[in-house]
Symmetry: C2
Subunit: 456 residues, 2 copies
Amino acid sequence: MKETAAERDEEDIAAERLTAVLAAVEARDAAALDVLLDPLHAADIADLLEQISPSERADLLALWHGGIDGDVLSEIDESIREQVIESLPDEVVAEAVRELDTDDVVDILEDLDEPAQEKILDALEDADRVAVEQALAYPEYSAGRLMQREVVVAPEHWKVGEAIDFLRGAEWLPDQFYHVILTDPRMKPVGYVTLGRILSAARETPLKEIVEDSFRTVKATDEEANVAYIFNQYHLISCPVVDENGRLVGVITIDDAMNVLDEEHEEDMLRLAGVGDESSISDGPVATARQRLPWLVVNLFTASLSALVIGQFEATIAQIVVLAALMPIVASTGGIAGTQSLAVAVRALATRDLTRSNAARVVRRELFAGILNGVGLAAILGLAGTLIFGDYHIGVVLGMAMIVNQIVAALGGVVVPLTLERFGLDPALASGTFVTTLTDVMGFFAFLGLATVILL
Amino acid sequence: MKETAAERDEEDIAAERLTAVLAAVEARDAAALDVLLDPLHAADIADLLEQISPSERADLLALWHGGIDGDVLSEIDESIREQVIESLPDEVVAEAVRELDTDDVVDILEDLDEPAQEKILDALEDADRVAVEQALAYPEYSAGRLMQREVVVAPEHWKVGEAIDFLRGAEWLPDQFYHVILTDPRMKPVGYVTLGRILSAARETPLKEIVEDSFRTVKATDEEANVAYIFNQYHLISCPVVDENGRLVGVITIDDAMNVLDEEHEEDMLRLAGVGDESSISDGPVATARQRLPWLVVNLFTASLSALVIGQFEATIAQIVVLAALMPIVASTGGIAGTQSLAVAVRALATRDLTRSNAARVVRRELFAGILNGVGLAAILGLAGTLIFGDYHIGVVLGMAMIVNQIVAALGGVVVPLTLERFGLDPALASGTFVTTLTDVMGFFAFLGLATVILL
């Protein structure tokens, strides 16, 4: 994303505001904090809390805890939410969560430890607590956790006029709703009508005649990633959620689906790079180091494979020491090619553009692309090697090794994630480590092996 | 994203359908194709067209061109859209684009070559053509290209009853709209009201009293990435678009913003891996190879830097050949650490969680995390080296080089994207190549340099 001038201006304003906020905290000036923070959207207050250090955050909250409401708690990143909730007086937390919809309370609760969860559940009114506990009974990352239980329904045989009269007479309607869901007598959803169409149709029009083509339902036990995919694929605005008997239990709206889509992307990007997907820019150095260490240790072992391979050719290197200098070129260019192929494959798997139906064609495509680039790079590197060392044998070794490793890289980049997926694992999960290990090992083996055969 | 059983079932069904479709194409059985494809959503037909090879696609379109409507053209990936449009008879294209909203026509047009653009513009009715040409006058990737021009407005002084009467009496309303936008006499938007609230409020309530807090506008010249950010940050459903004088010119709805967000993610992921962001799973091998070659060639040169560094230590390697086998361990573990740090930083820049306000804190955080993991990995590797070679000097060299390179990696992963952004470039743009070059060069230099000093 390239920055625009407007965006830079916005960033200047935000940076100045942050400086002013920290100055007010330092001066223990609660009134100045009010002036600075009150006009902000909850999402911007949450961002500001995420951008400062833990000790600055603690000072700010001690001074300004009255300003933290349910919306801010809802917006705040889960990595610091626990710290924020623990630092707030119980009555502030209680008031904050009471004003939230139950789906937002669920979202806050699921990342907290038991004691913090209890603190919030105790603060809720009885009906809300039951609703929240029912939602928590659904599996983590399921549609049941994501949905709001407040739905607007109409019997399928109603006419537009009846729906309008019902809506205008309703004592309470959800804050955000875009459709009236039609249900049969057993509460199974059979279609939905947009509010715009209800407003513009004649009173005697049966609702059934103006339902949207886009109607579909999801099960409460469906994974949220699946739900986000359906919203994005079919351009849904809201989607009814049904239980195992097909009865309506809630509705998911597009803003929640957009949020899930965004988190799925984050997960893909971080996992591809071998970082725990719960990592955040607000984490301290120790948490950061701990999240990253596991794959670094794995890499320590996989990198030792390269060392073992090279060790087999010590006699060759001892005779022609320049090989040691040249060997990383082939390995590293293979690593880049593998990463390229991998990124395209992981993305295509996430958007379901790469499926078992076209996997064979894509693998073939990667093979040919690998051969083409391998030959191209071999020509450049081979020529350079020949000219620099005045010996075409070195050029031939470099070029041939490059072709082999480009093919391995292109194939590895697509076969590794496909294999992970076939075994029910996340295709992004540290595929980067696997693929670069593959290209390193093959790069060194091909280069030193060919050198041993051709140059000695 | 982990696959569920339900998702696998869906994939089985899709795979069987694809097989049946290809069989029908092979048998030139247009009736069978109709039975298979007619019930599908346009997005699923588009996916199917993307998953088959170019020659299968050409055969399918020749047999079934009547089935391609505006929605399918709209859904289809831009990488194959040109092929599809060119293979369709002019009258099919004309009919398809005439049924689309103007914003969808703009979306199709902007990726086409001049002759294909003309073909479509000629097919439009006069009013639509003017609207499309006006939209194309806005910069590429701007809000003006993304917006629909059909808006539902009400004067700011209206009451709910007037709005209801106006909506019920309107000859035409957009297919999808969620708000009535209030404007002042100069057509400047001053707020909006959801349809749900209009339906549930008393007729005499002034619209001004039930406007949404979330109201904000974007400029027609704002970048679409900025618009997507605003939708995601502030949970918008729709957002009015204004011209340079603040007058209402259109509205953007969340489904379009979600689409942009998705494309931005794709761009980040592919650019980070050094792949052109226009690459797609439908591309042929030649197009694929061409998209990837540029950064591979760049890497060929940057990898030569590593070779030059190693070349300086040929005398050391000649004396202790095992160093050649060990040196990739330090470089490769640094590459992984750099990629981890980079992925977190690029993601945080995209979500604006990493800004100049907290850049210094994040760089410090990375430094400490790098030191911690460097020490941890140095302990493991140093111990292993000492035990395997029975000489603690080798362990010390491995450990010290590891610490140095982990610090370089952690810092490089955050400083490289921050620097690219400071210069107004996309922070994801091939940062991967820069960072791994840095960790390779420093890894080899630190290891061989320390070995020369300590072991010789």
